[in-house]
Every structure is written in C-alpha cells, then in structure tokens.
C-alpha cells in the first residue's frame, strides 16, 4: 500500500481554504476531515492585515497539532511586496506545503524553492520537508504549466479560476465551458510530470447541486481533488470520490493478484480475464486509499471477495 503521507501520493480529495486572520476558524479547521488545509494569507486578507495573518498562521502551525496536511497560500513573491516576508515567517513554522498563487514562470518556483531549501538546511530538516503546490491563474501561467509542473518540489498543481476567468475576459458558467481547456491542459501537464492536480473552488456555497455536478465532472476528467471554501462541501467531495463496491472489489482483486505474483514470482497476471500492469496496480492502490479514507472497512471488503 502506498504510504498515505508521502507528499507525492497522499490523498488530496479536499483542500479547504481557511482565512489566515481568523483564529476561531484556524482553531477548528481540522475537525471537518479535509485532507489538506490551506491557510490563506493572500487574497482573503486585506493589505492592513497581512502581517497579522502571517504571524497568526505561523504561530498556529507551531502550537496546534493538525491531523490534515497543512498548506499556506503566500502572497506572490515578485508581483507583491508581501510574498518574501510571508516565507520568512511561515517557513520556520514548517507547513507541509507552500501554495504559490498566480504562478507564471519557473523562476518564481525556483525563488520559493531556494528559500525553502535555505530554511530546511538551517533547521537540519530533510530536503523535501516543505514542498510546493502551484496555482495557475493566468493564460501566461497556463502556457508555462508543463515546465512549472516538472520542478522537483512541485507536488501538485491547481487551477485558480477566478483570476483566470478575469484574464480570459469572461465569467464562470454552470457548464464550465470557459475552463474546459485550462482544466485539460493543467491536468495533462500534471500527469506528464507525475504530480497531482486540484480543481478550482466552487464559490456558491448554497448551490450544492451545482457543486456536486462540478465535482463529478472534474473527478471524471481525472482531477485528484477539489479546493473547497466551506466545511459542508467536504463531505460531498469525499462522497463523490469514494469508490463504489464494484470499483473497490476490483481494486482489491488487482492488489491481491499483484501481491501473489510478486511473492510467487509469477509472470504476466490477469484479473477477470484482463491483463494487469503497473499503472493498473497504482490506480488500484489509489481506489483502496480513497475507500479507506472514506471510512470503508477494507478488511471486511477483502473478506467479501
């Protein structure tokens, strides 16, 4: 089984935005079961609150034990005067990831990565203690997404639709036609680089039907998860990303066959008459991980086989 906390493969069905200047929300952020928490010191924070938020988030990371993965969305390191200051305060607090917003060029990733490397060395932390998730929020960024995804610290790439839509000079629609190309392109780049891909937020928290539709679509496109802005969206995403019984049974059979073949040095293997190879095994592991995270009793399912 894949180690679920390996930053390359850990489950990220949901990444919940938490305003970095709200102690109450920060405090209770990890009780709702989001796979990742993204503390925001960028767009949700007004200019006069930037320093408050960055210190609050840093202290929260040091003082509280979060069960979920921790991510901090910093301000852009070159387009704003705040980003580098954010890193100085946030990195020593050791979040799992830095979210680099509005990334447009590999040099921006390198700048953040160098800063991370410096802090890792200072603290004698292993390389890769802190990683990066980038957010594509402009056409320029989209055009450079393949190179950006290949940076070794880049664990995932996300689409930030609001700025992207503004850049396209259009608006969000229920069908998502305006984002179809961007979603596809980012997803391909992520898969090419072997990293994860997160879909953008759905901002109408009262339209749960529309939300379900969008999450189902992005799951079917291949996204690993969804950014969410309210706890009530979490369960919906997890439900949609929970494999059904058939999928789970098949995945368990694949893993059992794979284990059997490794142990007994068998050659070509097949399940239900279909040949099994590497990618199918990886996919099966993912299905089992998702089912396990959703609270399904895997051992019981295995017995049912």
């Amino acid at each position: 089984m894949t180690e679920m906390t390996d930053p390359r493969t850990r489950l990220r069905r949901t990444m919940m935005f938490v305003p970095g200047n709200n102690p109450k929300m920060i405090n209770s952020a990890d009780i709702y079961g989001a796979d990742s928490l993204m503390f925001d010191v960028e767009d949700a924070i007004t200019i006069t609150e930037k320093d408050t938020a960055r210190y609050l988030v840093a202290n929260a990371l040091k003082a509280l034990q979060f069960h979920s993965e921790t991510v901090v969305r910093i301000n852009h390191p070159t387009q704003t005067p705040f980003g580098m200051d954010d890193l100085k305060i946030i990195l020593p607090a050791k979040p799992n990831m830095i979210r680099l917003p509005k990334v447009e060029d590999i040099s921006e990733v390198e700048l953040v990565s160098n800063e991370i490397e410096r802090v890792e060395k200072e603290n004698n932390w292993p390389k890769g203690t802190i990683n990066i998730i980038g957010a594509i929020e402009s056409v320029k960024g989209l055009y450079n997404v393949r190179e950006i995804c290949k940076h070794p610290r880049m664990m995932a790439i996300a689409l930030g639709a609001e700025d992207f839509i503004a850049n396209l000079k259009t608006q969000r629609t229920k069908t998502g036609i305006e984002l179809y190309y961007a979603r596809s392109e980012i997803l391909m780049a992520a898969r090419d680089a072997g990293i994860q891909c997160m879909d953008t937020v759905f901002s109408d928290i009262n339209d749960m039907e529309g939300f379900d539709r969008e999450v189902t679509n992005s799951r079917d496109m291949g996204f690993d998860g969804k950014s969410v802005i309210h706890p009530k969206q979490i369960n919906e995403v997890h439900r949609i990303y929970t494999p059904n019984d058939n999928q789970l049974h098949h995945a368990l059979k694949v893993l059992a066959a794979f284990e059997d073949s490794t142990k007994n040095h068998k050659g070509v293997l097949a399940v239900d008459g279909k040949m099994i190879d590497g990618p199918i095994v990886v996919r099966a592991e993912r299905v089992v991980n998702q089912a396990e995270a959703a609270g399904i009793d895997i051992e019981k399912k295995r017995e049912e086989l």
């Binding site: 405090n27 209770s28 009780i31 709702y32 509280l64 034990q65 309210h230 706890p231 009530k232 609270g295 009793d297």
Partner: protein, 518 residues
C-alpha cells in the same frame, strides 16, 4: 455529609426543611400521599371578572409570608409577574415567596423587590441575567437559599405538597368569561400551558390574567373553569417579541452541525434510530440541528418514529406534519411555527409538566423516551452535567427538563463544544451538578466522543465504529492542549453564603451552590 453524587451537603441549611440526600437516581421510594387544593365552592352566576390585579390580590386574601406562583410560558416577554409584584408591594405586603416555573432576564426587576423585603424567597428552575448575578453575590438578600427544581421535580413537589401555592397568577393568551383558557390563540399566544396546568390544579387560589377575554366559549381549553377563581383582563400579558421567536432556525455553524451529525450517526450505529423510536431534542444549536440529520436518516432508512417530546420547535412540528412521527407531547412550545402546529395539528398533543416528567406519578412520558439529545454548560470526568452556573460560579441557566429526560431516556446524549472561549468544557468536577453522571451515556464534542464506561452495551456496539470515540480523560486532554487547565473557583464556605439548593427530581439534595469568592 456526602451524597451519592459525591457532593458535600451541609447537615443543616437555614430555611430548608427535611434535608434528604441524593442517593442515586431511582433509589428513593416515596410513601407519600398526594395533596389537593383547598375547596372553593362557586356560587351560581358569580362574575369572576375583576377590574384589576389589585382587586384580585384583595379577593384572594394574600398575606405576608405566603407563596405565589407564575409560569414561564411567556419567557423573556413576561409582563405579568411585574404587574403582580408591583401591586403587592404597593399594598405593603411583605415576605412573599415566588415559585415560578422558571425566571428570565425580564425578571431582573425582582432585585428591587428583594431589596425592599417584598420578596424574600424564590423557587425556580433556574436563575439568569442580573438577578442570577445579584443573588449569587448576595445570597443573604433572601431569607433562604433559592430552591432549584427540574420541571418534573416542580410538578412532583406541588403534587406531593412540598411546594404549597397560596395564589397562582397565571397569564392566559385566551380566556372566556368562566375561566376556560388556552395558549393556542390570541395576540400573546405561546402554545402549550403545560406548566400552568399544575399550578391551577393545586394552588389554593387561581387568578387568570388575560389580554384576550373571549365572549365565545374557549374549547379545547388547557385550564378548565373548574379551577379558576378570578379573571383579570389587562392590556397586554407580554411582549410578543420576547414570548416566542419566529421560526427557530437551524444553526449554520459547521461545528454544531458536525456534532449533530455525530449524534445522529451514534444513534444509528447503536440501533436506537429504529422503527417506532421516540426522542426529545433540546433547543440548543447542536441538539436541534440533529433533527436535520435524523430526518435524512429516517427518510433513507424508510422508518417512522412513535413520538417526540418537547420543548416543541417548528422543526419538530414539521417532522410531525410530514408523517415522520405519529404524535408529539408538548409541555412548552418554542416558536410561532410550533404554536400554529399545536392549534391545527390533532397529533400535536398538549401535556402538563406532571405528564411530562413528574417522577412520582405512574407514568410520565419521559419514561418512554428512547433518545434524548441535550446541551450542557460543562461536564466532568464522572459525566456529571452542569447547566446552571458559569465558569465563575455565577447562576446563569436553568435545570429545565435536563435531569428528567436524562433519567427517563434509554440513551442520553450530551452535545457541546469541547472548548468555549478559552475554557475547557470537561472539568475534573463540574461547578454544580444538575444531572448526575449515572444518567448520562454519551458526550459528543466536535473533537471526540466519550461513552460512559458504565454503558458497556453501547461501547460494545460501537467497537468497530469510525466515530472518534475516546475516553473522557483523553477528550479532556485535547481540551487542555488548547487552553490549559483552569483554576477552580474559590467558594465561600459560610453557612449563610449558600445561594441555592439544587434538588434532584425526587426532592433529594443533589448539590448546593455556594457564593464564589471573586
């Protein structure tokens, strides 16, 4: 002397007779015979309508040292107690005991009448607002500690003769010329008159005060004319905005909803959420929110419940209307939607406080409860619950039906946040006990669930559950990891610094509230 809840109770408390120590939830077997009211033989064609409250006080012959009673169906909008107490004071009558089914912040005016000696004792479900603060800091302002009783305990005390009422002043939203009264209609309609029913049946004198005197006969009536001596029409019995909120809304707090979801899941996994089950939900955020998830589960599993009890809210009234429950028993109606339901839905039944929860009758409806979900101000490692004093030891709440429903229900769930402000809600020992831990089965917070170790059956049923179940000590440790361990409140040990005596529902002494040294 230590009682069975581990609380130190003084052997003598000035003004409290026949101290009997709490000895376990069902240990005391009463040998009493109930009491009845003084017989008043009404003469033919007597006019019960009086011109004023003053005239009513004169007619009842109210004297120094007597006990008058009120109900709290008007909640924080009540005008009646103030009108009556002012008139009593004007007449120079002193040393009156007020036995109200509860007290709200609108009764803060009592402080003035306590200071001038008009009111010298209180018996109530709780103490709140400025009055709660004042009496906590000045227990000697009254001649004896306030007696705190649960709703069932009050009905018991009245029926058993422990609480004798000389005159009941009962607000009535609609009343006819003979005294038949209801709370279902009128500009001050508040629904069920469950608490008033007991006072009217047992008080020596009954005065109805109404702002809706009807020439047409009132039927169905909650109070029958056979119990009513006098009727006083007034301009208004209460402030509609303080009486009943519009529809009580479901909370939007994600934390409360999470707690409510856990509660529902636990009910389901332990098998209590089954065909023909019965339940009561407290009116707090998380307990009320459980209705949302219970409804979803009932619909998904295609089950219906037998009855609900309340404290009925519009949210429950809607479940009743939708056929999810066959009936509901209503002793106190919480919002305008539920008031309308009581008036219109024949399956919405009005009951008295005794029918609801009196432990000394042959069958209070709480005895038939499968599940109750209740809030708490704080709990402790022994699962004791406090809903009456705050973290500084100040009286700020009421016992209500907490211990009654906890005692009757097969599964008692407490829902509360693990931390409030900067205080952990799981203490080593609660400030005061209202519901003993023996009656509490599960405590649910947003960060974990603790099951009373005595409920081995529940623990067994949940051994494979994915719910965040842990020991109460582990849960307390999480709370401490956020906010640390608070200092305990220092209390005065002086005999005359006892603020209140908390009676268990059977009349035994469960706890005493001491004046805090702050």
């Amino acid at each position: 002397m230590k009682n069975a809840a581990g609380r130190e109770i003084p052997a003598h408390i000035a003004g409290i007779n026949n101290i009997r120590l709490y000895n376990g939830p069902f240990s005391y077997i009463p040998q009493n015979t109930g009491v009845g009211k003084k017989i008043h033989a009404g003469k033919p064609h007597t006019n019960k309508i009086l011109a004023s409250i003053s005239e009513a006080i004169d007619k009842t012959g109210l004297k120094n040292g007597q006990t008058i009673s009120f109900h709290h169906h008007l909640r924080n909008g009540d005008y009646v107690m103030k009108m009556v107490v002012e008139t009593i004071a004007d007449k120079g009558i002193k040393d009156i005991t007020i036995a109200s089914s509860s007290l709200s912040p609108c009764h803060d005016f009592l402080i003035d009448y306590i200071k001038n000696g008009t009111i010298t004792a209180l018996e109530s479900s709780g103490l709140r607002g400025q009055l709660g603060k004042y009496l906590t800091m000045h227990p000697q302002a009254l001649k004896r500690p306030t007696i705190i009783r649960s709703h069932g305990g009050r009905a018991r005390a009245i029926e058993a003769g422990e609480l004798h009422i000389d005159v009941a002043f009962m607000a009535a939203p609609a009343c006819d010329y003979q005294g038949n009264a209801t709370g279902r209609i009128g500009k001050s309609a508040f629904g069920s008159m469950g608490y008033a029913m007991i006072d009217c049946a047992y008080a020596d004198n009954v005065v109805l005060i109404t702002d809706n005197l009807s020439t047409d006969p009132i039927y169905p009536c909650s109070i029958p004319q056979t119990q009513v001596d006098y009727i006083v029409p007034v301009e208004a019995i209460g402030d509609p905005t303080g009486i009943a909120s519009g529809a009580i809304r479901m909370t939007k707090s994600p934390t409360q909803l999470l707690i409510a979801k856990y509660a529902t899941q636990l009910m389901d996994e332990t098998g209590y959420l089954k065909q023909d089950f019965s339940m009561q939900l407290g009116s707090g955020g998380a307990s009320l929110a459980a209705a949302k998830f219970i409804r979803e589960k009932m619909t998904a599993n295609n089950i219906t419940g037998r009855f609900g009890i309340g404290g009925i809210t519009g949210i429950f009234a809607q479940m009743l209307k939708d056929g999810l429950f066959k009936t509901c028993y209503d002793t106190q109606t919480f919002d305008t939607v539920a008031v309308k339901s009581l008036a219109e839905n024949p399956n919405h039944l009005e009951i008295s406080a005794s029918f609801y929860a009196n432990p000394w009758n042959a069958g209070p409806i709480v005895n038939n409860l499968d599940v109750v979900i209740l809030s708490a101000t704080e709990v402790d490692l022994d699962f004791n619950v406090n809903v009456i004093t705050d973290s500084n030891g100040i009286c700020m709440g009421a016992s209500g039906g907490h211990s009654d429903t906890a005692a009757g229900s097969a599964l008692t769930i407490i829902v509360m946040p693990l931390v409030r402000g900067r205080l952990p809600m799981i203490r080593n020992h609660v400030q005061n006990i209202v519901t003993p831990g023996d009656l509490v089965d599960v405590i649910i917070t947003e960060r974990g669930i603790a099951i009373n170790p005595k409920r081995k059956d529940i623990i067994k049923k949940l051994q494979h559950s994915k719910l965040p179940i842990m020991s109460i000590e582990a849960l307390q440790k999480i709370a401490y990891s956020f906010v640390g361990e608070p200092d305990s409140v220092r209390l005065s040990t002086a005999d005359n610094d006892i603020v209140a005596v908390i009676e268990y529902r059977d009349g035994s002494i469960l706890d005493v509230i001491h004046k805090p040294l702050i």
